[in-house]
Symmetry: C2
Subunit: 404 residues, 2 copies
């Protein structure tokens, strides 16, 4: 785990509000200097959680929008999803409690919740802890923050990068929690990025939207999309001497964009590595597709195939199942031009088993904790890459055994 530096203009505090878990922190408060801009991307679910709706409502779209944030409140243990009017009331109440304690508008408070679906969230539990959180907020508490938002993640997820914008040194810190639908009744991928760069809200939104395409949006655990997936970024502008950037296309952002991508790639890889019951991190690369979008759909078809994932759990280079997953994607593919590699070893070539591959070498590759699977379609220049994990009996245990 990297050393997480402080970010100018950001302080953090965690508390035990007893929402569901006993004996551990379950609320995170992050405070921001005035003038902190905010951007966010959220689940595409048609049935999103109440906090997702709250955040969306307070992030105005458009090139001249001034989306400002003073506080972020995240709780674990209850997702406040599918809770109807109670859910909306709970988000409003949570924001009001935080706004009063912080001294800002409720619209400047952003929210995220993760945990049980369908259970009313008792927002009054925040009352008892909020003043203490505000009083105790300190810089640099990012690991504690990452721990407070965990559900059944097996480790806290943090990443950091430092770059220059003009002559000013700026930092990007990120925290995240678990991939897919993590544990009994639990849902959600949450991630929060913090920087002391000075970036206008519409530019920040554009940067975030671009950076997720090949990071968070290229990770799948089980193909199940949470009602609560939330990725937000906060830019305080408090770095000494940092120029204020108005447009995402500003050339001074070059290094910043690369660093943002690296932080998101790092966090999303940690999420894939810590997937439910996962023993192997699996990278799937598709090239030679008719387009990047087509390569993405084929890569996700492979990554979400239970048969490919169980084969990898069984350490079997079962390329026949990869062919099946390519075939079912519905994208242009020509069986007789298809080649497949496991761990750099070509096992199938032009529509047939590669006669020259060494079974022992492939078996050795499959025993590794990280498996690289590559498919070449031989049709065009479309290329893409996604990350996933294997499908094990532990996945079934985590998600199916708790009542039986």
């Amino acid at each position: 785990m990297p050393e997480m530096p402080a970010i100018a203009g950001v302080t953090l505090a965690t508390a035990k509000a007893g929402i569901r878990y006993a004996g551990r922190t379950d609320v995170l408060l992050v405070l921001f200097d005035p003038a902190t801009t905010v951007a966010g991307v959220f689940t595409k679910s048609k049935c999103p959680s109440a906090p997702v709706e709250w955040c969306r409502a307070h992030l105005k779209p458009g090139k001249s929008s001034k989306n400002l944030a003073r506080a972020l409140v995240v709780n674990s243990g209850n997702a406040n999803a599918f809770t109807g009017k109670n859910g909306r009331t709970a988000t409003k109440m949570t924001a009001d409690i935080a706004a009063k304690a912080v001294g800002c508008k409720a619209a400047e408070v952003f929210l995220a919740s993760t945990g049980v679906i369908g259970e009313p969230l008792d927002a009054s539990k925040f009352v008892a802890v909020m003043d203490g959180l505000v009083a105790g907020a300190k810089p640099g508490e990012f690991v504690a923050a990452a721990k407070a938002i965990m559900t059944t993640d097996t480790f806290p997820k943090v990443a950091t990068a430092t770059v220059k914008i003009g002559k000013s040194k700026v930092t990007i810190n990120g925290i995240a929690k678990g991939a897919g639908m993590i544990a009994p009744d639990m849902a959600t991928m949450l991630s929060f990025l913090f920087t002391d760069a000075a970036i206008a809200a519409p530019a920040l939104q554009a940067l975030l939207k671009e950076a997720v395409v090949d990071t968070f949006n290229a990770v799948t655990i089980d193909g199940d999309t949470s009602t609560s997936d939330t990725l937000m970024m906060f830019a305080t502008g408090a770095a000494a001497g940092c120029p204020r950037i108005a447009r995402a296309s500003d050339p001074r952002l070059k290094a910043f964009k690369q660093a943002l991508f690296k932080v998101l790639a790092n966090l999303s890889e940690q999420i894939a590595r810590d997937g439910e019951g996962a023993r192997k991190l699996v990278e799937i690369t598709v090239d030679g597709a008719v387009s990047k979008a087509s390569a993405r759909r084929i890569a996700l078809s492979i990554a979400n195939s239970p048969l490919v994932k169980t084969a990898i759990a069984g350490e079997d280079a079962n390329w026949g199942r990869v062919v099946m997953a390519v075939g079912k994607a519905g994208e242009p593919a020509d069986r007789d031009k298809l080649s497949i590699w496991f761990g750099g070893i070509r096992v199938a070539h032009k529509g047939e088993r590669d006669p020259s591959y060494d079974e022992a070498a492939v078996s050795a590759v499959m025993k590794r904790p990280e498996i690289r699977l590559k498919v070449a379609l031989g049709l065009g220049k479309g290329r893409d890459r996604v990350l996933t994990c294997d499908l094990t009996k532990e996945y079934i245990s985590i998600n199916g055994d708790y009542r039986s």
Copy 2:
């Protein structure tokens, strides 16, 4: 298992060709009277097996096509999929061997294979058994036929119905083998229907295409589509006094259509019930969608969700995961109009947990071997139903454990 009557114009024989399995039958030959018409629907995979390509090539489309069949050869143990030119050579050789023994054209021989992918099929193995198969073919051997095409199905799948066309009594017999991708390296759903009705090929094709929509196409085990899925129907026209039907819209087919639907529904339900590692048959009904197609997509999203399937394996009425699966389908849905039932008990209503439901009653329902799950969207009149099974550790064992 029903008593399977003979079908006039159909004889069957099975043999042990030693393709992969020892000590069991692995080849099925079905012989048809001249003038037997044939129709077929096949996998939508972009990487289909060689036998699928063979059958497609010999089923001419169009309203005046005269597709005739004299023989069907099916083998288990090797799918002849992803076998390149060898695969095409093997299909041609198999058809030639059968055509010579039967005394017909190779184009009148239809083929299906199920088993290992990527392994060359040694078609010469059919030479040793073919004359014996032709000589030994007998009426009524449908259960033996269903056994010969099994891979890891736990029971043979047969169904039958008898109805009248005009004043003539006609029979429909069907056999099928396993759903999804059944076992280590195995793929495929295969099903064959036989009738002594006299129906022109284009009409037979239209009947079959219509009947699969709510039967075979409404069953999913793991969302993985085989390279070899094949459903064919053969109509001998040998029933005494049966009028020859030229068009699928002929009103004399009313009872026949219903019977065909019943046979296909019966077979496809058996496939869902015998899914890999399955302990529960799950029926998912979606109503109130904006259209039937939308209801189908939502029902399949629920049916293919690993989290819904593991919850059902764990006997947990986890409606939060059903909401998740509705939300991720991408179809019109309004969280606050959604209601969900397990086994007839409403557990969620208008976007919230139903406060009045009895936890003990729901627990009792979830222990049953057949689970009915219903979602009402409250948007329109679109309704659909699909069948699936639960996702258990045995699925992982069957598909992942065999090398470790």
